[in-house]
């Protein structure tokens, strides 16, 4: 079954025809060519495919594409503006928040969701906010530090 859907992604409005059983992750990657959200497990356990859906972090592998009709979506590609890196991205670079890097786009999205709610999160809050994002390199400590530093740097 086909669905004509419209949503905004990283500030741009898109109009697409999708099938019922396509996932939002599949559409973002294959139809829109945005490779920030990653395939990691398809079971909602790893968070590599995290995107913001109406401002809240979700696993895009477990959202059906037609469910996104009318939504506002942000992927990691929407973090930086005019080629200027987002403070979170800069902080991840400076504090070794990235090793192999596969989890990084999802981590950034979770961090973004957290900071939009709590401007100065303490460590425990950051840990809780990242519990749905797996990092096999074990870079959690530096990721948490990156987020803390970025939150302090913000006005």
């Amino acid at each position: 079954m086909k669905h004509d859907i419209t949503f905004t992604i990283n500030g741009e409005s898109v109009h697409l025809t999708v099938l019922s059983h396509q996932t939002l992750l599949e559409v973002i990657r294959n139809d829109l060519g945005l490779t920030g959200p990653k395939y990691g497990c398809s079971t909602g356990e790893c968070g590599a495919c995290s995107v913001l859906l109406d401002g809240e972090v979700v696993n895009s592998c477990l959202v059906l594409a037609p469910e996104a009709d009318g939504a506002e979506i942000m992927t990691v590609e929407g973090l930086s503006e005019d080629d200027e890196l987002h403070p979170l991205q800069k902080s991840f670079i400076d504090h070794h928040g990235v090793q192999c890097g596969y989890c990084a786009p999802g981590m950034l999205i979770s961090a973004k969701a957290l900071l939009s709610r709590t401007s100065r999160p303490h460590e425990e809050e950051i840990r809780e906010a990242l519990v749905g994002n797996l990092c096999r390199c074990g870079a959690y400590a530096d990721i948490i530090k990156s987020i803390q530093v970025a939150s302090r740097a913000r006005r």
Partner: protein
């Protein structure tokens, strides 16, 4: 002499590829952009363990709409392996393990590929299987590889196929029997470790495309492109020169993307298709079921201690369940033998390392190279021995640890090392004390434990490492190497080294993705110990490049070369104070004719004579771990409160990068020790996702993490540096195990340390106490 201001060695330095990775730029498996030409490959894997099988419906599947090519073992019967070819690319008639590939298809879409495979029916006829070490070694057990003697590479292994011994490495010194007979204390225990999954966040994948008649290009996410090229080419009867592997970002490997797993099938099916790119990208379930496991370990350890506190003897037998293939594990076995007595100068040692074939999926070593599991046994054993003798576990370690100058192996004298500093500094970081036992608050008891580690760095013959640097006006400074960055900071190190040696700003330097088209390297081309070997090749190349640049300017300025130097990107003359930006030099040259192109290459080739599987021992990485845990004595619930990890890296070229690796090792150490265990039912994995195979989340992190860098220079390494990333978690599990013992009085000798195991041990302890009353 002018001081170099751009001194980047030993300073914080970010990962070179960080920005790309943080902005979502495509570089991982599944990200490749090839347009509508792209075909999609899927693999049919056996879901059964040992069985005879027949495929039905293959021809219909082949004719299915959208199918470009389909191969079964009957179409392409070939074997695969780096040293011993003990795997088949596609099974024929007999399935040896669940997860073995039976067919591969390339189609216009993933759905079409899946539909084609769904048309193939598999008829299994179950055969008796052996899935664990005990049953594989039992009399009359079915041999997993009865025809092993006919495999290519059989002469490289010490095998007894009829009793499932795939390979054996042994090491002896002194007289263990005699020493044990006269020891004051003798202790004998068995320790086990569960099989693990590497579980990189990026599942295996890549793209392959035929080039002309016989050639093939593969865009791969592998740690070892030269090894993969050789193995795949040999399996497909290709000349390795016709197969080019271009590496892309690697979204985690931990050892799973070194040896060939599904990559050979991608190459095979792409060769069947007319010049169209074919993509393969495994699902998470396939990654769990069909790539590699790490081998399960059973270690039987006996140590003897004299009344002076000297460990006088060790006998250790390490048995490893390598599944249906030993090939990827062979090289680690020698390491295990060398590390197998632990980081101690024990005069009498008898170490035996056995790889046992079973009908499980092939084993490959993981980060820590199975040396982590070896230390799980040895370093708990030393604590047990200390308790038996009534001495402090730290004092016993200090008395016996290996020191610079000790000769424990023929032709190898131990170098100066930071082993003692590692254990002392980690002990200090968590305030470990020799006398305190447990601290209890209500039902929760806490305790602290220590462990050390050492891990041999071996280099095999042919294990060359190469580096080429080119400076030109267009691309400034490009570097071609033969190793691959898997997130450990290899490219950052290269950039730092060149920036330091040539005194160039880091922005000028670009490390090219490693491409087998650049070098005609042997398959043993380096994929481990990268810093040490690439570093030495780079030092050669930078020296030559600097000579070329200065020589060129020397002619241009008509000044002797000895007057000239490069400082902060400028050629300067100490005599005439003339200066010239290297940038201008590269873009304009002398102003006449084409601007210059400087190109220099370096090769590091280890001096290893032996033409065998054996590598030569170069050095040992040494580590220390200290853990504090809290255990609920009623429920067995275990929390790691703090974990300190120290490593002697010789010289920290990128200190924050080193700490990042240590912190990662600490988290992986917690994960492997508390959570991870691959489980099977009738030989088929039942741990097939992150629910059934949990890995550590932020909720499992210790409250405090202490990464500690120790620097005792390695005279043979670049700037005195030594490799780290592979060895980083050696000792973590045993430190946690020793801490659990101190908190609870129960000793867990099986990995992982699950709450159920602690609870059971506490119950047994309670019953014993009751019995004694």
């Amino acid at each position: 002499m002018v001081m170099r201001k751009t001194h980047v060695i030993g300073k914080p330095f970010p990962l070179v590829e960080a920005q790309k990775k943080l902005t979502g730029v495509s570089c991982y498996a599944g990200d490749e952009r090839f347009g509508p030409e792209l075909l999609h490959a899927r693999i049919l894997f056996s879901e059964r363990g040992h069985a005879r099988f027949r495929l039905r419906g293959v021809e219909a599947a082949r004719k299915q709409e959208g199918v470009a090519a389909l191969l079964t073992g009957r179409d392409l019967h070939t074997r695969l392996g780096a040293v011993i070819e003990d795997r088949e690319l596609l099974a024929v008639d007999e399935v040896k393990y669940a997860g073995q590939p039976l067919a591969v298809v390339a189609a216009e879409s993933t759905e079409a590929a899946m539909q084609a495979l769904a048309m193939i029916q598999i008829e299994y006829e179950r055969l008796p299987g052996v899935y664990d070490i005990e049953s594989a070694l039992a009399p009359n057990a079915p041999p997993v590889h009865p025809h092993m003697a006919s495999y290519r590479g059989f002469d490289q292994v010490q095998a007894e196929p009829e009793r499932n011994l795939a390979h054996q490495v042994a090491f002896q010194r002194g007289d263990v029997e005699k020493a044990l007979a006269s020891a004051a204390f003798v202790l004998d225990h068995t320790y086990t470790a569960a099989p693990l999954q590497h579980a990189p966040m990026e599942t295996h994948g890549g793209v392959a495309q035929r080039q002309g008649k016989g050639g093939l290009i593969m865009w791969m996410h592998t740690q070892a492109p030269f090894l993969q090229r050789e193995v795949i080419a040999r399996a497909l009867h290709m000349d390795p020169k016709d197969l080019r592997i271009i590496t892309q970002c690697v979204g985690g490997s931990f050892g799973s993307k070194v040896f060939v797993s599904v990559e050979g099938l991608l190459a095979a099916i792409a060769r069947e298709v007319d010049n169209r790119p074919v993509r393969l990208h495994l699902t998470r379930e396939e990654e769990f079921r069909a790539v590699f496991m790490t081998p399960a370990m059973r270690a039987r350890v006996t140590m003897g201690l004299d009344d002076q506190g000297h460990i006088v003897a060790i006998r250790a037998i390490y048995d490893w369940n390598v599944g249906a293939s030993v090939d990827a594990f062979l090289m680690e076995m020698q390491r295990i033998a060398l590390a197998g007595a632990g980081p101690y100068a024990i005069p009498n040692a008898d170490i035996q390392v056995n790889a046992i074939y079973t009908h499980l999926l092939p084993a490959a070593p993981m980060r820590g190279l199975s040396i982590a599991q070896v230390h799980w046994a040895v370093e708990q054993h030393v604590d047990e021995l200390a308790e038996m003798a009534g001495v402090s576990p730290l004092a016993l370690r200090q008395r016996n640890l290996v020191k610079g100058g000790d000769q424990l192996f023929p032709n190898f004298v131990m170098h100066a090392n930071g082993l003692e500093s590692c254990v002392l500094e980690t002990a200090r970081a968590i305030d470990w004390q020799p006398d305190h036992q447990r601290e209890a608050s209500g039902a929760v008891a806490s305790g602290k434990g220590l462990a050390m580690g050492w891990s041999p760095i071996l280099v095999s013959p042919h294990c060359k490492s190469r580096a080429t640097i080119q400076c030109d006006g267009e691309n400034l400074c490009t570097v071609i190497v033969d190793g691959v960055d898997v997130g450990q900071g290899y490219y950052a190190f290269i950039t730092q080294l060149i920036s330091f040696e040539l005194n160039f700003p880091i922005e000028w330097i670009t490390v090219q993705p490693t491409d087998t088209g650049n070098y005609d390297s042997d398959w043993r081309a380096i994929y481990n110990n990268l810093l040490w070997s690439t570093g030495r090749a780079l030092l050669q190349a930078t020296a030559e490049l600097k000579r070329q640049i200065l020589s060129y300017v020397s002619e241009m300025w008509e000044e002797p070369m000895t007057n000239l130097d490069i400082v902060e990107g400028e050629v300067i003359s100490y005599a005439t104070k003339r200066r010239l930006s290297v940038l201008t030099l590269l873009q304009e040259g002398t102003g006449e004719g084409a601007p210059p192109v400087f190109r220099a290459a370096g090769v590091y080739e280890p001096e290893v004579k032996a033409e065998s599987l054996d590598g030569a021992l170069q050095s040992f990485a040494t580590t220390g771990y200290a853990a504090e845990v809290a255990v609920n004595l009623e429920t067995g619930d275990l929390t790691v409160l703090q974990l300190a990890g120290a490593a002697d890296v010789g010289h920290a070229i990128n200190p924050e990068g080193v700490k990042a690796q240590l912190k990662g090792g600490i988290i992986q150490g917690v994960s492997q020790t508390l959570l991870e265990e691959m489980r099977f039912k009738d030989g088929a994995p039942v741990t097939i996702d992150f629910m059934s195979y949990p890995i550590a989340t932020t909720a499992d992190m210790p409250q405090q993490i202490h990464p500690i860098v120790v620097e005792i220079p390695q005279s043979t390494g670049p700037y005195g540096a030594r490799d780290l990333s592979n060895h980083v978690l050696v000792g973590a599990s045993a430190a946690i195990g020793n801490a659990v013992y101190r908190a609870t009085g129960v000793r867990i000798r099986e990995l992982p340390i699950t709450p159920q195991r602690i609870y059971d041990a506490l119950q047994t302890q309670a019953k014993t106490v009751e019995g004694n009353c």
